[in-house]
Every structure is written in C-alpha cells, then in structure tokens.
C-alpha cells in the first residue's frame, strides 16, 4: 500500500489520472497538462470563477456543475467556482441576459476586482441564441459587459467549457 502511494507520488508530475468515464474525442480534447501549467504560471495555481446565470435555461449551469464532479474534476487544475465575486478572477455568464437580470449582472461584474475577465458561455450568452429578439432579453452578455472569450454550444459540453477556459488563458500569453 505505502509502496503504491510512494510510486504515485513519484509519478505525479507527469501523470494526471483520467477516470474511465472521461471520454475525449481527440479533436476537441484540450491539452490537460497545458491547462494545468498555464493556470500554474499565469494565475499562480489558482483561477477562480464566479458564475452568473443571466436568464439561462439552466442546462448551461448543469454543465458547469458537472465540471466539479469527480469525473471532470476541474479543481485539480486549480480552477474552481466561488461564491463571491470579490474572490473571483473570471466572470462566467450564461443565458441571453434577461432584462430583469441586467442590473445584477453588471453589479456582479463590477464587484470583481480588476483585472477581470469575462467568459460568455453558451449560444444564448453569445448573441441571445434561440431567445434572440425577444422583448425581455438583451441578446447576449456582450451587450451588457465586455466579453473576453466565447464558448459556443447549446449547452457546451463540460469538455468544451474546459477547452474554452484554456483558450482564454492561452490568449493571455
């Protein structure tokens, strides 16, 4: 037993255990090690995300919740969702931004200390998606606050969200 733990510890640097349910089509698979390294280097091992649901259908949130389950386990990259915008580096917005959530989204954005980044997650958040043109939506996060990265999909799968976050981080180089 102890031997095994030691062996695992020794090999930890280059091996991130991948659970069997984590299936990655090679085309969309983000480079896991890269993500880890980038978070290490740019964010000193800790990237904190505040998610704001601005009128989504909730599927986008479920996929973000799935990121924290033992299969995707996004925490092992140093990425986590936090409760307060004051603790966050990134705001991840979902939904077309219903007019009644506009103010809350803006305030949450302003509550994040600078420098802050914004991800618009899901087709709705990009341009209103299926809800585009309805009287009660603002047709996307970018119409309310500045956006740095878009993740398309309805909803984007957990893997696509991870890829999106990686893209955002890489663009910071």
């Amino acid at each position: 037993m102890i031997k095994e733990i030691l062996k695992n510890l020794a090999g930890r640097k280059n091996a991130i255990a991948i659970p069997d349910l984590l299936t990655m089509p090679s085309s969309e698979a983000p480079n896991f090690v890269n993500l880890h390294k980038s978070v290490d280097r740019i964010f000193c091992r800790s990237l904190r995300i505040r998610l704001v649901d601005a009128g989504s259908c909730n599927a986008c949130e479920w996929e973000c919740t799935a990121l924290t389950n033992p299969i995707y386990d996004i925490q092992r990259f140093g990425i986590d969702f936090v409760a307060s915008p004051r603790h966050a580096d990134v705001l991840l917005g979902t939904g077309p931004v219903s007019r009644q959530m506009e103010l809350a989204l803006k305030k949450t954005y302003l509550a994040i200390p600078e420098p802050r980044l914004v991800i618009a997650c899901g087709d709705c958040a990009i341009d209103g998606g299926i809800y585009r043109g309805s009287y009660a939506v603002a047709n996307g996060v970018a119409n309310v606050i500045p956006v740095d990265c878009y993740i398309p999909g309805c909803p984007p799968t957990p893997m696509q969200i991870i890829s999106g976050i990686l893209r955002l981080i890489e663009s910071l180089h």
Binding site: L21, E63, S98, Y135
Partner: protein
C-alpha cells in the same frame, strides 16, 4: 356536472377536452363547484387574445377530476371595454399566481384578488404595457429603463412582518452556488424562519410571446430550451399539443421512443437530485456518487441522441432518432446505474447523520399542497396521489404497469424517498419498454395546421406535470402558446414548507423541491 353543463352557453368537445363557456356571473360558481364538490384539481389558468376571431379576450380555467381522463375547461369571454373577470383565488388558492400573471400580461384585472401586486414584471417595467396582447410590440414602449432599476415605475411592496426580535435577511438574486437567480427575503426570529417571501421572474425571457413569432415546427427547439433538465418532457408536451391540434396520431414506435426517453430523463434527474441533497447535508461522498451516476446517464444520452439533454429528438409528428436500435447500450448502462444506485442508497440509509438532517424539516402538509395546487414529487411526498401518467395516460403509459408512489409525511426525507422509488420504477419501465417490438415509421406526415384550432399537450416531467396549450391563427401560425411548468405550481409552496425551520436549513429544503427558475419565469 349537470350544474355546470346547464349554465354553459357554448359547449365544445375535442378529444378529452370539454370547453364550457359560461357567463361572467356564472364563472366563479362553475369553477368553485368543480373544485369543492367534485374535488377537481386546477391544472392551469390562462388568457388568450382572441380579438381577431370574435372581438374578445378569453379566460380559460382548466380542471381535471381525479379518476376521469378528461379536462373540464371553463371559458369566459372578456370584452374589449371591461377588462375584468371575477377572481377565484379566495375560493381556489391555486389560482393566485395565474390571475396575477393574466393581469401582468394582458391587463385584465381579476376582481377581488387579495394580492394585486405585480408578479412577472419588476419595478422598472413600464406601466400599462401588456406584452401578450396581439397588438403590443416592443417598440411601443419605452423599454430603455427596464432592467436598469433606475426609475421605479411600479414599486413593489414586500410583505412586512413586525414584532419583537424580527429581522430581515435579503438574499439574491445572485446566489453563492451555481444556481439560477431569484430573490428571497426572510423574516427571521433568531435562527428561525418566520416568513419567507420569494421574488422570482428574474429570468423572464418573454418565452410565450417568442413562441408566437415562430412557426409551430420551429417552436419545438424553443420548447426544449425552457427548462434545461426537463428538455425532453417539455418538447414532448409541446409536440403532443400541436399534434392533437393538427389531428395527428403518432406511430407506436414514436410513442415508444418518447416514453423511453421520458423515463431516462426522469432517471438522470432523480439520481442527480438524490446526490444533490447530500451536498446540502455535507455528505460529499454521496454527492460524488450521485453525480457520477448522473454523468453516466448523460453520456448515454449523448450516445443515443447526440445531446446530453436529449434535445433534437422530438419533431412534430414523431421522433428523429430510433434510439431503440441501441437497446444494448441502454440496457448495459441501466444495469450499471441500478447497481451503483443500490450502493448509493445503502450508503445513505446507513448514514444516520444524513437521514437525521432530512427528517422533519421542510414539512409541507397535504392540506396546503392541495390548496396551492402542488404537483409532482412535491405533491406525492405530501400524500397527494396525482401523476399525469396515471391520471391522463398518454404515449404508452396505459399499457405499462407501474405505481405512482406517495408518502404522507411531506418532509425533505419523503421527497427523497419518493424520488428513489420513482427512479426504481423508471428503471423497470425502461427494461419493459425495450423488451418489445414496435410497429410503424418514426414520423408521420404533417398535412398542415387547421386554422383557429387549439389543443392541450401534457406529460409528467421529473418535477411534476407540464402543460402546453396551443392555438393557431388563420394561417396556421401560433396565435397563442401557453406553457405551465411544474415549478410554477410548486414555488408558492416553498414559503409554507420552510416556515419554522432554521435559516441554514433553507438550502436543503429548497433543494428537496428541485425547482426550476427558468421554467417558472418563462
């Protein structure tokens, strides 16, 4: 029924729907008779702008009597110049939100309603602006200020609780976790919740109006996007409504596919919900196990339909994907899920501290659940035996043998156990469905939508009953699409369930109801 039938000035029958139009003076009487004497359940209530047909707005109150597979719909015409109708809320409390919604959306005032504050729109939405009237358009109103909250056009007055030691805790709309937005105002005495007033509709997206801007066929995509985790049930009910309106009968095979996917949807939801309750009590290992089971089913969904939320399968007239061809995959996944689920339940039943947290908190009494018109797991855990699959059998449900599970205690534990039993029941339905062969093509041809026709579609989602009512205009385009999601019925029950509980137990109580904000706010 005589009493209501005698009063009807116009009777229309369509499938299992009986429309009884009454005079204004008889409206309340007819509704109250059904509710009090026949113990009918108010399924939904809504208005429609039918001025292009006969110069009137119509109010529809839809009842179903336990044991009868039929909907009794009391219809009232409201003329252009009066804009009022008699409120039935005092007698039938379940009508309270519907009536306020009609006021917000159509500007028709329920006379005698005890609470005429706005429901859907918040303070800065312009006054005298009624989006669901046919002649209303965005550009008519000054919407610039809306959402900014700068100018309060119609101030909302929260209910105030006064007394020694009472203080208020406002929470939201942005919450700590990854959840949807809503605002809660607790009035607490020490740690104990004395009163809770939720303010919802932050995610109001004008969905019903949005439906009117697209064809019935495109509407399927929108119906899948009303409440994420019930995507399939919503689109199923929507398609059913349009198909019934167009006089279509879908094939046996399409019915089988829909029934199967409905049960798979129920299964992944219930698994996830049982796990989420563990997150509420701090039993991380239970949460992790639940999440893994759910993920397994979501991945099955993706293999079956290319969507983790079973989207893109339903079309008007049938289904696109013959998932029954992948029966082996379904069976093997369900087998693993069953095993893992048993492990999870053993773990939970053995965790005394977990169970202890769930027992006797968030109690919703049968009486209140009944009066507020609660539905689904919420109702069944409070002892109300109401399941649309049994009450109004559709698809293949009349051929399947299953029970609807109830429990009388109405607490968080009961809601968990009802979910657990339903999950087992879904597993056996899935296995039974796969054993058989089904006849027919995947879709039937849609010949067109007849003008000025209407129909209901309904099903039992993992959260409770969902209803759609659709009506076409003279070109076969949507004149009105009304949707009523289960969360809309269950939200008003939450304040009653949490009364007297500790504030820190609120998240757990709330989770046990598993309500959708988006589905409720539309």
């Amino acid at each position: 029924m005589e009493r209501v039938l005698n009063k009807a000035i116009k009777i229309k029958e369509h499938l299992n729907e009986q429309y009884l139009e009454v005079k204004k003076d008889d409206f309340k009487d007819a509704c109250v008779y059904l509710y009090q004497q026949r113990h009918a359940i108010l399924r939904l209530m809504f208005a429609a702008d039918e001025r292009q047909i006969d110069e009137t707005f119509k109010i529809y109150a839809v009842f179903s009597i336990p044991g009868i597979d039929k909907f009794f719909i009391i219809v009232l015409s409201v003329r252009d110049n009066v804009f009022t109708f008699p409120s039935i809320t005092k007698e039938i409390p379940a009508a309270h939100w519907y009536e306020r919604e009609i006021r917000d959306m159509f500007g028709i005032i329920p006379e005698g309603h005890p609470d005429l504050r706005r429901l859907v729109f918040h303070d800065s939405f312009p006054e005298n602006s009624y989006p669901l009237r046919k002649d209303w358009h965005i550009s008519d109103t000054d919407l610039k200020e809306w959402g900014e909250g700068i100018k309060q056009k119609v101030p909302y007055k929260f209910m105030e609780v006064e007394g020694e030691g009472i203080y208020e805790i406002p929470v939201g709309p942005v919450h700590a976790g990854i959840i949807e937005p809503g605002y809660f105002r607790f009035s607490a005495v020490g740690e104990t919740i004395f009163f809770l007033e939720p303010r919802l509709f932050y995610t109001h997206k004008g969905t019903e109006k949005h439906f009117e801007g697209m064809s019935f066929f495109d509407g399927v995509r929108l119906s899948e996007r009303i409440s994420g985790a019930s995507s399939f049930s919503h689109s199923d009910a929507y398609c059913m409504a349009v198909e019934r309106m167009a006089g279509l009968e879908i094939t046996e095979k399409a019915k089988a596919v829909r029934t199967l996917l409905l049960e798979i949807e129920r299964l992944y939801n219930h698994m996830g919900d049982i796990g989420n309750l563990c997150a509420g009590t701090g039993l991380q290992v239970g949460y992790a196990k639940g999440a893994i089971i759910k993920e397994r089913i979501m991945q099955l969904n993706e293999r079956l339909t290319a969507s983790r939320y079973l989207r893109g399968v339903n079309v008007i007239g049938g289904v696109k994907e013959d998932v029954l061809l992948k029966a082996d995959d379904i069976l093997s996944t369900v087998d693993i899920v069953t095993k893992k689920y048993k492990e999870l339940m053993n773990l939970l039943n053995g965790s005394i501290s977990h169970i202890e947290r769930l027992e006797n908190i968030g109690v919703l009494s049968e009486d209140i659940a009944l009066r507020l018109g609660a539905t689904g797991v919420t109702a069944r855990a409070s002892g109300i035996n109401d399941d649309i699959r049994k009450a109004h059998p559709h698809l293949l449900y009349d051929r399947l043998e299953f029970e609807s599970h109830t429990m009388a205690r109405g607490d968080v534990f009961a809601r968990m156990m009802v979910r657990a039993e339903e999950a087992e029941c879904s597993i056996s339905i899935i296995n039974a469905l796969i054993e058989n062969r089904y006849k027919g093509e995947l879709t039937v041809e849609v010949k067109g939508i007849p003008p000025y026709s209407s129909a209901f579609g309904y099903t039992e989602t993992p959260r409770g009953s969902v209803f759609y009512w659709v009506m076409s205009d003279k070109n076969g385009m949507p004149l009105r699409v009304k949707l009523r999601s289960p969360s809309y019925c269950n939200w008003p029950a939450v304040p009653f369930a949490v009364h007297g509980n500790f504030v820190p137990d609120f998240p757990l109580c709330n989770k046990s109801f598993e309500l959708s904000y988006s589905g409720c706010d539309m």
